[in-house]
């Protein structure tokens, strides 16, 4: 090489300027469109989740109130609204139910909720259909706390 190592280093400095103008503006525009699309999608999913949680909460409340009212009016021998015939092995366990005591008397209630709610339960969900409704069975323990979920549809 004619030049010295100093020349080599100088050439590296020049080479370092390649692409100094940064990415073309079109990249920024495409990213902005994608960012807005994702933000809008995230808002829809968040709304769907909220609706799902509300639906589950309402269903649990109804089950609890009706069971309690029956118990109050007609005595303790009246069965709960829907008694589970399935075993808990049919249900996906809920992450929140890990520390709960084992089920002795199970109750199953059927609810309709957005697909996005399944994500909260630790299930993999395709985000494209996150707002679609889905029917699911919720497995409740004797303490009224949800232990698992099973998809009906």
């Amino acid at each position: 090489m004619k030049g010295s190592e100093q020349e080599f280093l100088k050439d590296l400095r020049v080479l370092a300027e390649d692409g100094a103008g940064g990415a073309p503006a079109a990249v920024r525009e495409r990213l902005l469109i994608e960012f807005r699309r994702r933000s809008a999608h995230r808002r829809v999913v968040a709304r769907a989740r909220t609706a799902g949680i509300a639906a589950i909460a309402a269903a649990l409340l109804v089950a609890w109130v009706s069971g309690d009212a029956r118990h109050f009016l007609t005595g303790p021998h009246v069965p709960a609204p829907v008694v589970a015939e399935a075993t808990d092995a049919d249900f996906y366990p809920l992450p929140e139910a890990e520390g709960l005591p084992p089920i002795e008397n199970a109750t199953v209630i059927r609810v309709q909720m957005p697909v996005a709610s399944l994500q909260l339960m630790g299930l993999a969900v395709n985000e494209d259909g996150a707002a679609d409704p889905v029917q699911a069975d919720i497995l409740l323990g004797q303490d009224g706390l949800a232990r698992g979920v099973r998809l009906v549809q």
């Binding site: 080599f8 370092a16 390649d18 990415a23 902005l32 994608e34």
Partner: protein
């Protein structure tokens, strides 16, 4: 109230971005896109790959990439993602990639002083040869040259970006420079 991203550090910007703050995303993009784009261009020698990688890096940042500040700077984190994406692109395009003499000038180097035409030609030839030599290096050597010599990041940051030990960076850089000098000398001898 909308949180203002101005003067925010990278950590703060990333938090705002994950909450869907567009202004924060733009500030983060403007701050780092140059480094990511240059790195991808210098690693691949192709503007299309550099654009694709830049786009994918920032999509990854907004989508699912998790930055852990204990493992290094945001820039090292971005270089790490960029490097994986560039290598994937190069692997995909391996059968088609050739080192060009930049016929369209889209991958142009710096220009010498216009008054010194001969010097300019000589320097441009030398830079062109050096560019080709860098692109012809095996990826493990090319990435350390690009990060340490062209982007001037320190060995520790390069080690984080490339996921290896600082000693490895040092030895690879030493070897890479030796390979480059060798290629440059060989080019001189052949009068290329």
């Amino acid at each position: 109230m909308l949180e203002s991203p101005s003067h925010g550090d990278d950590d703060g910007l990333l938090r705002l971005i994950s909450a869907g703050n567009e202004a924060a995303f733009l500030e983060f993009y403007n701050r780092h896109q140059g480094s990511v784009y240059r790195f991808a261009l210098q690693m691949s020698g192709k503007a299309e790959i550099a654009e694709e990688v830049t786009q994918d890096v920032f999509v990854a940042v907004t989508k699912n990439a998790k930055y852990d500040r204990t493992r290094g700077s945001v820039l090292a984190f971005l270089y790490g993602i960029s490097r994986n994406l560039v290598l994937r692109c190069l692997e995909r395009e391996k059968p088609y990639l050739t080192v060009l003499d930049d016929p369209d000038g889209e991958y142009a180097g710096g220009m010498a002083d216009e008054h010194d035409l001969l010097g300019e030609l000589t320097q441009n030839q030398r830079i062109g040869r050096l560019r080709k030599a860098v692109l012809a290096l095996p990826p493990v050597y090319r990435e350390v040259v690009v990060l340490c010599d062209l982007h001037e990041i320190d060995y520790a940051e390069a080690a984080v970006a490339l996921g290896c030990a600082i000693g490895t960076i040092r030895s690879r850089l030493h070897r890479a420079r030796a390979l480059l000098m060798e290629k440059m000398r060989a080019g001189e001898r052949c009068g290329v």
